[in-house]
């Protein structure tokens, strides 16, 4: 078994995020996730600071590390200068590197985020862009969203948009050379490899679960499963 604490310590967010916790609970008191999930950031920090390898492995495979919304409200208040959310982020990164994320329903969702936000970055140079927010996946966006998508050019033209055109302006087309630079940055800094790791483990999990998987896009059973599945066991 690998020594997870050593691996976590390579992540500067872990170093920055965990000094020593005295279990005061200021983080949980105002945590948006603790309010609606069976979640207690204080307990996670407490079990990580013991350094117990088995406990950490359990966490890396757990649902609980995926409940945080990274609002960072915990950082403002901690009297010991910890940032529980940074610790969570380092746990999530490690869970993906080791392929443990597919062990939990919430962890498996990383595949959905990679296939949406991750692909948007390469395709458009944006994390989110109007044309990438499909109304059938976002019913909460309401009738106005469908309307905007049906009238994209007119709407954006009136508001100064530069939709799909080169040059300055909202939703301008990102020049190819800029996207190329983004790609190179992803390669040099290990993001491409990280993406591949998410893909590889997801593919393996899909076959374990007997779900159809395709090498790109979101129209496959595994994507739909991880994007929509909710066991209902995340809150009491």
């Amino acid at each position: 078994m690998e020594n997870y604490i050593d691996l976590l310590k390579q992540d500067i967010r872990f170093e920055e995020g965990l000094n020593a916790c005295m279990n005061c609970g200021v983080c949980t008191a105002i945590c948006p996730a603790a309010e609606f999930y069976d979640y207690d950031p204080r307990k996670i920090i407490d079990s990580v600071q013991t350094g117990d390898n088995e406990e950490i492995e359990k966490l890396l495979k757990s649902e609980t590390i995926w409940y945080c919304g990274e609002c960072m409200s915990c950082k403002t208040r901690c009297p010991r200068g910890n940032t529980p959310a940074f610790v969570i982020m380092s746990l999530r990164t490690l869970s993906q590197k080791l392929g443990f994320f597919t062990e939990s329903e919430k962890g498996r969702q990383q595949f959905a985020i990679k296939r949406t936000v991750g692909e948007n970055i390469f395709k458009y140079g944006y994390c989110v862009a109007t044309y990438a927010v499909r109304p059938e996946m976002h019913l909460e966006q309401g009738p106005i969203w469908e309307y905007i998508l049906n009238n994209t050019y007119d709407v954006y033209e009136r508001l100064g948009g530069q939709i799909n055109e080169l040059g300055a302006g909202p939703l301008r087309r990102i020049p190819e050379d800029a996207k190329e630079e983004l790609k190179k940055i992803f390669e040099v800094t290990g993001a491409t490899e990280f993406f591949n790791t998410i893909e590889e483990h997801s593919k393996k999990k899909a076959s374990e679960m007997g779900l159809q998987f395709s090498n790109e896009g979101i129209d496959n059973e595994y994507f739909i499963e991880v994007y929509t599945a909710n066991s209902g066991k995340h809150t009491t």
Binding site: M22, N23, V26, T28, A29, A34
Partner: protein, 345 residues
């Protein structure tokens, strides 16, 4: 005891300074007691009742005031010491009123400053009505005016422990040691003053280490029905009826908890006094990580400094209660007498 010869300057006229000045004078030394305020007594004069026996603070204050009525004591109030020099074995002190005093030994009893509660911005002290400090509450007890801003009686009161203590965010990682017992004392007095009110203490650890403190804690639970909730209050807000809303984790239930209160009392901690810090800088006196004066030896020299002939007593070295402060002052007197008697100078 043979006659002592020597002039000792005591800087700070609070509990430690008054007790030490009195004892030094009785031993035959001539003493100059310097106090920056016009009145003596320091923080002690703010207390209504002391713990653990809830004896009126004024009783101890009166004892101290009597202590310093002595021909050997020269009082300089409204005056402070900005710095000092040591020439040979003599100390030369310059006061803010322009006096130059020569001394054979110096005792610093510069005490503590109460943590300024407004620095914990999330608690809204100075912003929300009815968020008060432990010192404010003590004053209310003294003046027998326990009321909300709008004149009504509070029905539900919260007490927050560790305000400005054990908190890196305000630069104080140490425990102020006395806030827990102050909280319990004040909770009991709240219940005695307002029979029907509900009182909750929000604590991280109950540090009831002093003599008879744990017994008070037990009384608070058994006889007064005070609620204890383990968790540090994270945030205070206000609702449309001007009630305070606090957010805390009930850590023993493992769930966030929200409570509506009429009044919130912040147990402000103790910090090295501004005057002490100035003296430390001017005189190259060693201070600890907690910014209080660092004694020469934690066990055997808690009254001694890194300069021969300069001594410390009381809360300028660490948070301590009145009992400990008086003992510490007496310890300093013994050290000073030894220093002068053995002609160490």
């Amino acid at each position: 005891m043979p006659d002592m010869i020597g002039n000792v300057v005591v800087v700070g006229g609070g509990t430690a300074g008054m007790e030490a000045a009195g004892q030094l004078a009785k031993a035959g030394l001539s003493v100059t007691l310097i106090e920056k305020e016009n009145d003596l007594g320091g923080h002690l004069k703010e207390w209504y009742h002391l713990f653990p026996d809830r004896r009126p603070g004024d009783e101890v204050l009166n004892y101290l005031k009597n202590q310093i009525i002595h021909d050997n004591i020269k009082l300089l109030t409204g005056n402070s010491v900005g710095g000092f020099q040591k020439k040979g074995n003599d100390f030369i002190l310059n006061t803010s009123n322009g006096e130059v005093i020569k001394a054979d030994a110096v005792l610093l009893t510069t005490g503590f400053d109460l943590f300024k509660s407004e620095r914990k911005e999330e608690y809204g002290y100075g912003i929300y009505d009815n968020v008060i400090s432990s010192a404010d509450l003590e004053m209310m007890f003294r003046e027998k005016e326990l009321r909300l801003k709008n004149g009504e009686k509070p029905g539900k009161i919260g007490i927050v422990h560790c305000v400005g203590s054990r908190d890196e965010k305000v630069g104080n990682i140490y425990c102020s040691k006395l806030c827990c017992v102050t909280a319990v004392k004040q909770a009991i007095e709240l219940k005695e003053t307002l029979r029907d009110c509900k009182v909750f203490c929000f604590y991280m650890d109950m540090r009831m280490g002093g003599a008879l403190y744990e017994e008070m804690y037990r009384d608070a639970q058994e006889k007064y029905g005070i609620g204890f909730i383990r968790g540090k209050v994270s945030e205070v807000g206000i609702n449309i009826s001007n009630k305070l809303i606090i957010k805390v984790e009930d850590t023993l239930a493992g769930r966030p908890l929200k409570m509506e209160l009429d009044m919130l009392v912040l147990m402000a901690g103790m910090e090295m006094s501004a005057g002490g810090t100035k003296l430390a800088e001017a005189g190259k006196l060693k201070t600890g990580e907690n910014r209080f004066f660092a004694p020469a030896d934690n066990h055997l020299g808690s009254n001694q400094s890194n300069i021969k002939g300069l001594f410390y007593a009381g809360t300028c070295t660490a948070p301590m209660n009145v009992t400990e402060t008086i003992s510490h002052a007496r310890g300093a007197v013994a050290d000073i007498i030894n220093y002068l008697k053995n002609n160490e100078k």
